[in-house]
């Protein structure tokens, strides 16, 4: 479950407002420990080791633990322990709401259940869409995409790096999207079909991004060759702005 998504759900239910959500998410980011910090805390790595791994990460964008294991700095057993502890110790948005006495524990549970039900329905629609070759319900997709944009409103911006898969792919993009701020950005978006409603989507996305100091540039690619859902494929454009291609 994504906390940002859940936060937007709470905003839509008027349990919290946008400002409170922003504050809570900032606090969550501040309090939740990164894997490197947990490794230092457990005595598995020195601060110098962590710094070294982060530097390598900035070149190759592989997971922290994968690099640490490759450098023989962490064993698989230690990685398992750290990932488990991170899962246990990281605080969720719901917990923060209770801690701050914004809602009670008794109120949280039905809200979570309601949210999960909505998400299940959404995923069901999405799966139906993915499995079908002739897509008719573009509005469902627009809804999904709209929610993806909601997600990145509060996303921590992470640099993107060259993805190895891009070199081997033969697929043709149906839409190219660039999302960036002053630094770099990350965005997950998977599906598209060229249609009149695309303009609506573009309006929605611009609208959601405009207040967040995040810029979105969308460029249509005329050749539409069906839809295939795969991993997001990411590469650097020649101008240095991260570009995300969706197939």
């Amino acid at each position: 479950m994504n906390d940002r998504f859940f936060g937007e759900f709470l905003v839509s239910k008027r349990i919290i407002d946008e400002n409170i959500l922003d504050d809570l998410l900032k606090e969550q980011i501040h309090r939740n420990k990164k894997i490197g910090e947990l490794c230092i805390e457990k005595g598995f790595l020195s601060p110098e080791d962590v710094e070294k791994i982060i530097q390598i990460q900035q070149i190759e964008d592989n997971p922290f633990c994968e690099i640490a294991k490759r450098l023989n700095l962490l064993t698989q057993k230690q990685i398992d322990e750290i990932l488990f502890l991170q899962n246990v110790k990281n605080i969720h948005l719901g917990e923060l709401l209770i801690e701050k006495k914004i809602i009670s524990f008794e109120q949280l549970s039905p809200l979570l259940e309601e949210y999960i039900e909505i998400e299940k329905k959404r995923n069901k629609y999405l799966n139906e869409y993915i499995q079908s070759l002739n897509i008719k319900e573009l509005k469902v997709i627009i809804d999904v995409i709209k929610n993806y944009f909601l997600r990145i409103k509060h996303e921590i911006l992470k640099p993107l790096y060259v993805h190895k898969k891009i070199k081997n792919t033969k697929l043709t993009p149906i839409l190219k999207i660039t999302i960036y701020n002053e630094e770099k950005n990350l965005f997950h978006l998977k599906i598209f079909e060229k249609d009149d409603t695309l303009d609506d989507f573009m309006k929605i996305s611009q609208n959601y991004l405009s207040n967040k100091n995040i810029k979105c540039k969308i460029e249509n690619i005329d050749t539409l060759q069906g839809i295939k859902i795969e991993n997001n494929i990411v590469f650097h454009s020649s101008g240095g702005i991260p570009v995300i291609l969706f197939y």
Partner: protein
């Protein structure tokens, strides 16, 4: 420090039960700053029926946590100092709090309130990150929700904790294994059961469960071997008899398929 209703039958002395400390000396610093330093380590100690003392470290949240070890009573009395104040004011309330948190989590899980259960199990694990009951509970909650990735994290954790395979957690161990199988996590379930087997924590139910997973993996010959082991221990084990029949039929089918000319 003394549990009133627990008496040692042999010499009528009360059992040892509570918080004790031991002083450890070490060297800190180097060169001119090098000096001896003594610090106090806290342990929860409990006398067992055989007279040995089971000791477990007290963690920073004042609950017994981590691996248990056993020492003789003589060694214990020579080295450990009772800490009744710490037990009464810190450890006992923390242990109660932890037990209540786990009980609440388990109640939520029974009521199928899985998100609330996760919340409480995690709270328990933040107090004692090696708590076996809470770790199993969290894993079972993820399996209840069909969240395999998170369940795998817990599985890996439990696999590395030998205490998870102790007799006192047998019912949780069994439930976790069965739930993994039902979530089609066959390889994990098998690995889990085989670790119990390697630690000699076995009975006819463990053999049956191993056979059941091997059957799902279509490994009929080893499945038959383990179901026979289960039946050797308990010839009247009805589920095992039924499973054996099914495995034998599958083996016969395999043979007849193998005989069909390609």
């Amino acid at each position: 420090m003394i549990e009133p209703n627990k008496k040692n039958n042999n010499n009528n002395l009360p059992n040892i039960y509570g918080v004790f400390s031991i002083k450890k000396e070490g060297i800190v610093g180097a060169g001119h700053t090098k000096k001896k330093s003594a610090h106090q380590l806290l342990f929860f100690a409990e006398e067992k029926d055989d007279g040995s003392i089971c000791i477990q470290p007290i963690n920073k949240n004042f609950v017994p946590s981590g691996p248990k070890s056993f020492i003789s009573k003589e060694e214990f009395l020579q080295n450990f100092i009772p800490e009744p104040d710490i037990y009464i004011n810190k450890v006992y309330p923390s242990m109660r709090h932890l037990q209540k948190t786990i009980a609440r989590a388990e109640r939520h899980r029974r009521n199928k309130e899985y998100y609330s259960a996760e919340y409480e199990f995690k709270n328990a694990l933040r107090i004692d990150e090696e708590n076996i009951r809470a770790t199993f509970g969290l894993g079972l909650t993820y399996l209840d929700r069909g969240e395999k990735d998170k369940a795998k994290l817990v599985f890996k954790r439990l696999y590395n904790l030998n205490a998870a395979f102790e007799r006192e957690h047998k019912h949780l161990f069994n439930e976790f294994g069965i739930k993994m199988r039902k979530n089609k996590m066959y390889k994990e379930a098998l690995k889990f059961y085989l670790k119990a087997y390697s630690l000699e924590k076995w009975d006819e139910h463990l053999f049956f469960n191993i056979a059941r997973v091997l059957f799902e993996l279509k490994k009929y010959k080893p499945a038959l071997k383990f179901i026979n082991k289960a039946l050797a221990l308990n010839p009247n084990f009805m589920e095992a008899i039924k499973l054996k029949n099914v495995i034998e039929k599958c083996l016969q089918n395999e043979k007849s398929v193998a005989r069909i000319p390609q």
